[in-house]
């Protein structure tokens, strides 16, 4: 018996050892994590050695203020986000797309300008680009082949050196040299970016055979979509990675030099925190004239939307960029100080058009009658009410077109001219009639219609786990059943789905007859960019097509119009062209919009901060509801105030 007892005891000892083994490393890891901000300070003080006079004073001050703050983020100095960062941050390299660093790096039409900055900021509400690093508006030359803009004299890097035209030019050169996403995306449209003098940048467009810019819209888009990065630091980066593209893009760039108001403070598996650079150049009167209100921007990493919603309701999140189902419950039933940009459905501004694409090569789907019949039979109100919990404008409010619901885009086509082509859904009788007239009937009495003797049966699909899309696809399938077309649903995993859908150099396989993908949101190239993605036949044949027209639609007239629009500047002519495109789209139905979706979800909790943008808040130019860190919406950070208790 004794031996048994000793065995049990030794087991306990083993367990205790395991436990202590798990307990012991904790301080080590924590120590290591804490070291990081300390390192940062060291770097900064090194920088102090070669400073502009002012610099010395300010860089030293953060150190003592940081010390008491090192372990706690004071609630009234921190703005909390959710819905951007999923999974831990990988690094801080703005050239790379795989840093998974949503609080600091996101280039594009509404670029995230917390840490890195673009020359201009796009405002999706009025469609204009406002200068940030740039000084005044940019100018086209008369031939519309080159853009000239100046940089603000006050603009500074975090190491105190001025932001120069050289930096802008070198950033572009680096993108091209290493074939980064940005380089590859723009090099068909931009010839060079040159520094004329330290303050002046000229962007030369690529020219076509006629000597005109290939696409002036994309050139103009570049200045508000892409960061300016420091030449000196870029060279350092190149050097340490031996000019190797793969290595350079995998470099986590902890030492990156930035120009924005915030920079890295802390990251781990549960959160990412940015801290304000109190020496930010933007407090110069030529830009904001002050510092943004929150000292910290923090983002807790939630595992799913549900957890994020709980935190929003609890007041642990101030700005929410995620789909909060039935968000109105939070204020209507619980009386929480939560609000959205609009007080009533759709609660936000729709920007993109989640779309159901037809595989135009599938049996029967090559017939307009079948495509249109399915599209007009779908119960859109149910999609909007159930899948989106009313967070989308209805098609009664915003009739379908290729435009998003923003007033700027709605004004770009003639609504009346396409009125007869419109549909708002649930038109079962109309759909049946359409099919009957096209001679697509149920000839063998099995309840399903046949085309050329073959039963119409399709699979509608979208990625598994994309809940609102899945709900929408379900409703599409239900519509088919009502009009005698057998539509079943199927949800492959995203990893499989993406490889199939984006392979546009071959016909789509079985199982992808009707499938959902996104469309572009807002930006300086819109609505042209969105339509170009949705309908241009250029994308057919790409082996990895992340752009659009996944159903492989081909219409020479559409291509022609899309070619002509970027060069056109006469609003009347543009309107006519856009109207024609909408007309073709609604007639041919190569794909159809299922709902409107905002560029970014935007809900705020005013437990701590107030002064968030809302419709009619009197800001001029209006601050868009893009979570205060994207494009022009960053202006909102300067309007925040603490709630008086």
């Amino acid at each position: 018996m004794k031996s048994r007892l000793s065995a049990v005891l030794s087991l306990v000892v083993v367990a205790a050892m395991l436990l202590s083994a798990c307990a012991a490393p904790t301080p080590q890891v924590i120590e290591k994590v804490v070291e990081k901000p300390v390192e940062k300070v060291v770097q900064q003080t090194v920088v102090v050695e070669k400073p502009v006079e002012k610099q010395v004073v300010v860089t030293v001050t953060p150190a003592p203020t940081k010390a008491p703050d090192a372990t706690t983020l004071p609630r009234n100095e921190t703005l909390y986000f959710n819905g951007f960062q999923w999974g831990p941050v990988v690094g801080w390299n703005p050239y790379s797309n795989s840093m998974n660093n949503a609080m600091a790096i996101a280039q594009g039409s509404n670029a995230r300008v917390t840490m890195f900055e673009t020359p201009y900021l796009y405002n999706m509400l009025d469609g204009k680009q406002y200068p940030l690093l740039a000084d005044g508006d940019y100018k086209w030359n008369d031939a519309r082949t080159e853009i000239t803009f100046k940089l603000k004299k006050a603009a500074r890097w975090s190491d105190g050196t001025p932001v120069t035209a050289e930096d802008v030019a070198y950033t572009w050169a680096t993108h091209v040299k290493y074939n980064t996403g940005v380089g590859a995306g723009y090099k068909d449209y931009i010839e060079t970016v040159q520094a004329v003098d330290p303050q002046t940048v000229v962007i030369k467009a690529k020219l076509n055979a006629q000597g005109k810019a290939v696409n002036p819209l994309v050139v103009a888009d570049y200045v508000s979509s892409n960061y300016v990065l420091q030449k000196a630091w870029t060279q350092k980066l190149e050097q340490r990675n031996g000019n190797d593209a793969t290595k350079l893009l995998a470099d986590t760039a902890e030492d990156v030099v930035y120009s924005g108001p915030y920079h890295k403070f802390f990251t781990d598996d549960t959160k990412v925190v940015l801290i304000r650079n109190d020496n930010y150049w933007g407090k110069d009167p030529s830009m904001w004239g002050k510092l943004p209100a929150p000292k910290y921007l923090a983002h807790t990493i939630f595992k799913d939307n549900a957890a994020g919603s709980v935190a929003l309701a609890q007041g642990e999140v101030d700005v929410s960029q995620q789909f909060n189902s039935n968000i109105q419950v939070l204020w209507e039933n619980y009386g929480l100080p939560v609000s959205t940009y609009l007080p009533k459905p759709p609660y936000g501004i729709g920007a993109s058009l989640p779309t159901a694409f037809y595989n135009l090569k599938a049996h029967g789907l090559d017939q307009v009658a079948v495509r249109k019949a399915i599209a007009i039979a779908v119960d859109y109100p149910a999609i909007i009410a159930n899948a989106m919990t009313n967070q989308s404008a209805t098609f009664e409010q915003v009739p379908r077109s290729l435009m998003n619901p923003t007033p700027a885009e709605q004004a770009m086509y003639d609504r009346e001219a396409v009125k007869d082509l419109q549909w708002t859904g649930n038109d079962i009788e109309g759909a049946k009639k359409l099919l009957d007239e096209a001679g697509i009937k149920d000839t063998d009495g099995d309840g399903w219609r046949e085309y050329q003797g073959k039963k119409l049966s399709y699979v509608a699909t979208c990625p598994n786990g994309w809940s609102d899309w899945q709900a929408a696809i379900e409703i599409v399938a239900a519509a088919g059943k009502k009009i005698g077309i057998d539509i079943t649903t199927n949800y492959p995993e995203w990893s499989v789905y993406q490889t199939v859908v984006t392979k546009s150099d071959a016909p789509l396989p079985v199982g992808y007859d009707i499938f959902m993908m996104w469309s572009a949101g807002t930006g300086p190239t819109m609505p042209w960019g969105r339509i170009n993605n949705l309908l241009n036949s250029k994308w057919i044949g790409l082996s990895s097509n992340w752009i659009g027209n996944w159903g492989q639609y081909k219409n020479p007239r559409v291509d022609e119009l899309l070619e002509a629009i970027p060069a056109e500047t006469d609003p009347a002519k543009l309107k006519a062209m856009y109207t024609e495109l909408v007309k073709i789209y609604l007639t041919d139905v190569p794909s159809f919009t299922l709902m409107y979706r905002p560029e970014l979800f935007h809900a705020v909790n005013e437990s701590v901060w107030t002064g968030f943008p809302y419709q009619g808040d009197g800001t001029n130019p209006p601050v868009p509801p893009l979570n205060l860190i994207n494009g022009w919406s960053i202006a909102g950070l300067y309007n925040l105030k603490l709630v008086k208790k």
Binding site: L11, A15, V29, R75, P88, S98, D188, E316
Partner: protein
């Protein structure tokens, strides 16, 4: 002791073989999944690229870097070579982070959440089971069924209910994260307290579920032992009741300890749900996102760690059994 050495060596051999096979499976199974993980990385890199040659080039670059273009046998030997050199490769989904880096960040949370939870659940469950067996009556008829009922909630259900009651409604405990959303890890009292407070809901959601199963097992084992001949004999001999009870529970405990070792294997699965509901960092969600992102090296490494943990736990226990359990000793002699 010769018999024991043989027993030990045979066990060791079997464990070694098991480990090798498990290692091969850990490598192979993830790679049998359909889909192309490199395409996902390329998709990230190539967003907005309109020329197919550019995309193709990036794709080439990464297949070469990850070696996914080679035949799987070759990939395996490269993997073995790298692993022997301590290199478990890059995580596909979190590239350029390495697999070791990813796991290192999450494993502590899981181990520190799960080990105590399993042990506490095991202790409470066994105590309850033993008491039920010994006291019988009201305790057995009322408390046992209640604890069984509670344990029969599915893991995520328990987590959600605890969250709604104690987190959302009563606001006694925070609803998400491993520590305060407004804290930066440091080794001070405030942070530790925050960790402990955040620990409570995920911890209890696991413990409450673990209790029932252990209690049922312990109760049954104890009843076996209480009815065993040696107990009757001891009673007959007039040995003190408390002494008998000590023996009884010590014997009943043995199989329960095996259960404890095995539950280490289910640890990751068990923690997964609590991790998701409470946004708690840990191995479970890392593994799940790795599966979703077809992150082969990450899946392989995560499963390898689980394998090693379970294997060493069972090994230790089997070896100890060999020393202490006369029945196994007898079998060795056979």
């Amino acid at each position: 002791m010769k018999g024991y050495r043989k027993y030990f060596l045979t066990k060791l051999a079997w464990f070694a073989i098991t480990f090798v096979f498990a290692f091969v499976l850990n490598f192979t199974l993830p790679r049998l999944m359909p889909g192309d993980p490199v395409a996902a990385i390329v998709a990230r890199q190539a967003q907005g690229i309109s020329n197919p040659i550019g995309v193709q080039a990036i794709y080439q670059q990464y297949t070469e870097l990850f070696g996914t273009n080679k035949p799987i046998i070759e990939q395996f030997f490269i993997y073995v070579k790298n692993v022997l050199g301590g290199d478990f490769g890059f995580s596909f989904s979190q590239y350029p982070r390495t697999v070791v880096d990813v796991i290192r960040a999450s494993i502590l949370w899981t181990v520190c959440l799960q080990f105590p939870a399993i042990i506490v659940g095991w202790l409470i469950g066994n105590t309850l089971g033993a008491l039920a067996a010994y006291l019988k009556g009201g305790f057995d008829k009322v408390l046992m069924p209640i604890s069984i009922f509670v344990s029969n909630f599915p893991a995520f259900g328990m987590a959600v209910i605890l969250m709604v009651i104690f987190g959302v409604t009563l606001k006694w405990f925070p609803t998400s994260g491993g520590y305060g959303y407004d804290l930066i890890p440091s080794f001070d009292w405030k942070f530790i307290r925050s960790v402990i407070v955040h620990y409570q809901l995920p911890f209890w959601s696991i413990v409450l579920i673990a209790i029932g199963g252990q209690a049922i097992g312990m109760r049954a084992m104890s009843i076996y032992e209480l009815n065993a001949d040696y107990v009757k004999y001891s009673r007959f001999m007039g040995i003190k009741d408390s002494t008998i009870v000590r023996y009884v529970f010590r014997n009943a405990m043995l199989p329960q300890i095996t259960g404890l070792a095995l539950s280490i294997g289910t640890m990751v699965g068990g923690a997964l749900v609590a991790e998701i509901v409470f946004s708690y960092p840990g191995l479970g969600t890392t593994l799940l996102t790795a599966v979703m992102g077809q992150d082969y090296p990450l899946i392989s490494f995560a499963t390898l760690i689980i394998t090693i943990m379970v294997l060493s736990a069972t090994f230790i226990i089997e070896i100890l059994y060999g020393v202490i359990d006369p029945r196994i000793k007898a079998a060795q002699a056979e």
